[in-house]
Symmetry: C2
Subunit: 254 residues, 2 copies
C-alpha cells in the first residue's frame, strides 16, 4: 500500500480536483467518502480504481484487498482535506463514471426527470427515494446540478449503484415516452392541475420535478401528458421538492 502523508502530493491534488465538475470531467471519475458508500461500491462491483484509507480507519480489518484496485494509506490531515464532512471516517474510493447509456426509446419502467433542480441534498434525496420506490432511473436535465457533485453523492447514499442515472435533454425523453404511450406527468403548484390521487398507478411512466423556487419550465409543462398537483390543506405555500417527489413517486408507481 502506497503511503501519502503530504497534502501537497500531486495525487492528493488530483483527488481534491474531483470536488469540481471540471476535475471530474477530466478524469471521468468521482470520489466516495465513507465506509457505507465504499462498501456499497465494492458489493455492487463498481469500477473502483483507487481506495484511500487512514491507518486509524475503524473497519480496516474488514477491507478486502482486490488486485484490480490501487490502495493508498493517507494521513488524517489528507482525509480532512479531501472530505466535505467535519469528521471523515478515513476511507474514500475513486470510482469511474458509469458509462452505460440508455436511450429513452428503449427505457421502460418508472423514470424521474429533474428539470433545473439545484439543491444537491434535494437531488440526492430524490435519487435515493426513486430507488426505494422501485424506479428504473433518474434523468438529469441540462439545468440540474451535476450527479457526481460531493453533496449529491453523499445524499444518494449509494442509490446510484441501484438505478440508472442519465444526463440528457428532457424534451427528447418526454417525446419518446409519449410516442410509446407511456404517460409523462409534470408537477406544478397550480390548483387547476390534476390532483395526484386521481390518476391511478402505472408501470411505465415519467414524472418530472422542477426547480425549488420556480418549478418546472413553462416549455416542459406544455409537453407533458398531464400536470399533477398535491393539494395543500394547511397554510404552507409549497412542499419541499424532495418531499413532493416522494409523495408522487410512491403514489404513482404500480
Amino acid at each position: 500500500m502506497k503511503e501519502i502523508t503530504s497534502v501537497s502530493n500531486p495525487q492528493v491534488k488530483a483527488w481534491k480536483k474531483l470536488a469540481t465538475k471540471k476535475g471530474r470531467q477530466q478524469s471521468q471519475t468521482y470520489l466516495l467518502d465513507g465506509w457505507h458508500l465504499v462498501k456499497e461500491a465494492l458489493n455492487s462491483d463498481e469500477p473502483i480504481q483507487k481506495i484511500l484509507v487512514t491507518p486509524s480507519f475503524k473497519y480496516l480489518a474488514d477491507l478486502e484487498i482486490l488486485p484490480e484496485i490501487q490502495y493508498f494509506s493517507i494521513s488524517e490531515s489528507i482525509a480532512k482535506h479531501l472530505s466535505e464532512t467535519k469528521s471523515p471516517q478515513g476511507i474514500f474510493a475513486e470510482v469511474a463514471f458509469d458509462q452505460t447509456t440508455i436511450s429513452p426509446t428503449t427505457a421502460s419502467g418508472a423514470w424521474l426527470l429533474l428539470d433545473g433542480v439545484q439543491d444537491p441534498g434535494n437531488i440526492g434525496t430524490m435519487v435515493r427515494t426513486a430507488d426505494a420506490a422501485g424506479f428504473s432511473g433518474v434523468v438529469f436535465g441540462p439545468k440540474t446540478a451535476d450527479m457526481y457533485q460531493p453533496k449529491v453523492v453523499r445524499s444518494m447514499q449509494g442509490s446510484q449503484f441501484h438505478l440508472q442515472l442519465v444526463t440528457a435533454d428532457l424534451s427528447t425523453w418526454i417525446q419518446a415516452f409519449k410516442a410509446k404511450n407511456y404517460p409523462v406527468f409534470g408537477s406544478e403548484l397550480n390548483k387547476d392541475a390534476r390532483s395526484y390521487q386521481e390518476v391511478g398507478q402505472h408501470q411505465n411512466f415519467a414524472l418530472i420535478m422542477g426547480n425549488e423556487g420556480n418549478g418546472m419550465s413553462a416549455e416542459l409543462l406544455q409537453q407533458t401528458s398531464l400536470n399533477l398537483y398535491i393539494p395543500i390543506k394547511g397554510h404552507a405555500e409549497s412542499l419541499n421538492v424532495a418531499v413532493a417527489a416522494g409523495i408522487l413517486m410512491f403514489q404513482l408507481i404500480d
Copy 2:
C-alpha cells in the same frame, strides 16, 4: 430608527447569542432571517419585538412601521455577522417564543411527534410538510433538536406561524391520545410492521417519526397503537426521514 454600525455593539452581541439555545432560553426570543419569514410574521401578527434592516434592503419601501416594534438600521457587516446564509437579504426580526401551551388531553386533529430527530433541515421540512398536509401541530420530544435553532427556522419557512409547536414528553402525548381512542402510529424500518397503505385515513391521530440513524426508541415503539412501515421496492436501505414523514402524513390524514 436607531442606527448600529459596529459588530461589537452590545445589542449585536445579544442578537448573535440567539444562535445558541442558551441565548434563546435567556431572552425567550429567536431571530427570523429574510423577507419571506419577516413578512409572514408581520402578516400573522406574531409578537415581533425588533426589526433589523440594512439601508440597502431591497424591499425597504414595503416595510410597514408599527408602533409596538423597535426598528434598527444595521450595517451590511452586521447582517453578515448575524446571518447563517452567505448573502443575507438584509432584514431580520426578533420574535418572542410562542408561549401558548396545549395539553394532549385537549389536542385534536393530526399531530406529528418527533422522537430524537436530529437534523435541523429534516425537522424544519417536516414542520413545513405537516403544515401543508393540514396537521394541527408538531410535538418535539426531549431528544429532538430545538425548534428555534436557526437552521430549523429557515427550513420551516414560516410554518411555525400556522400550526402549534410543542416541546413535551412523548409518552404523555401517546397515553393521552390512546385514552381518547385516537390512534398513535409509530414508524419503523421493519417489514413485519403494518404497511402504511392498509390503515385508512384518520381525522384525529398521532404519527411518530424517529431518529435519522436509529429510528424510534424501542420504548416508544411499544407504546403505540400500531407501527407502520413503508415498503421499499428497490435496493435503498431506507428513506430520508422527512420524505418518509411526507408520504405517511399525506396518506394518513383524512
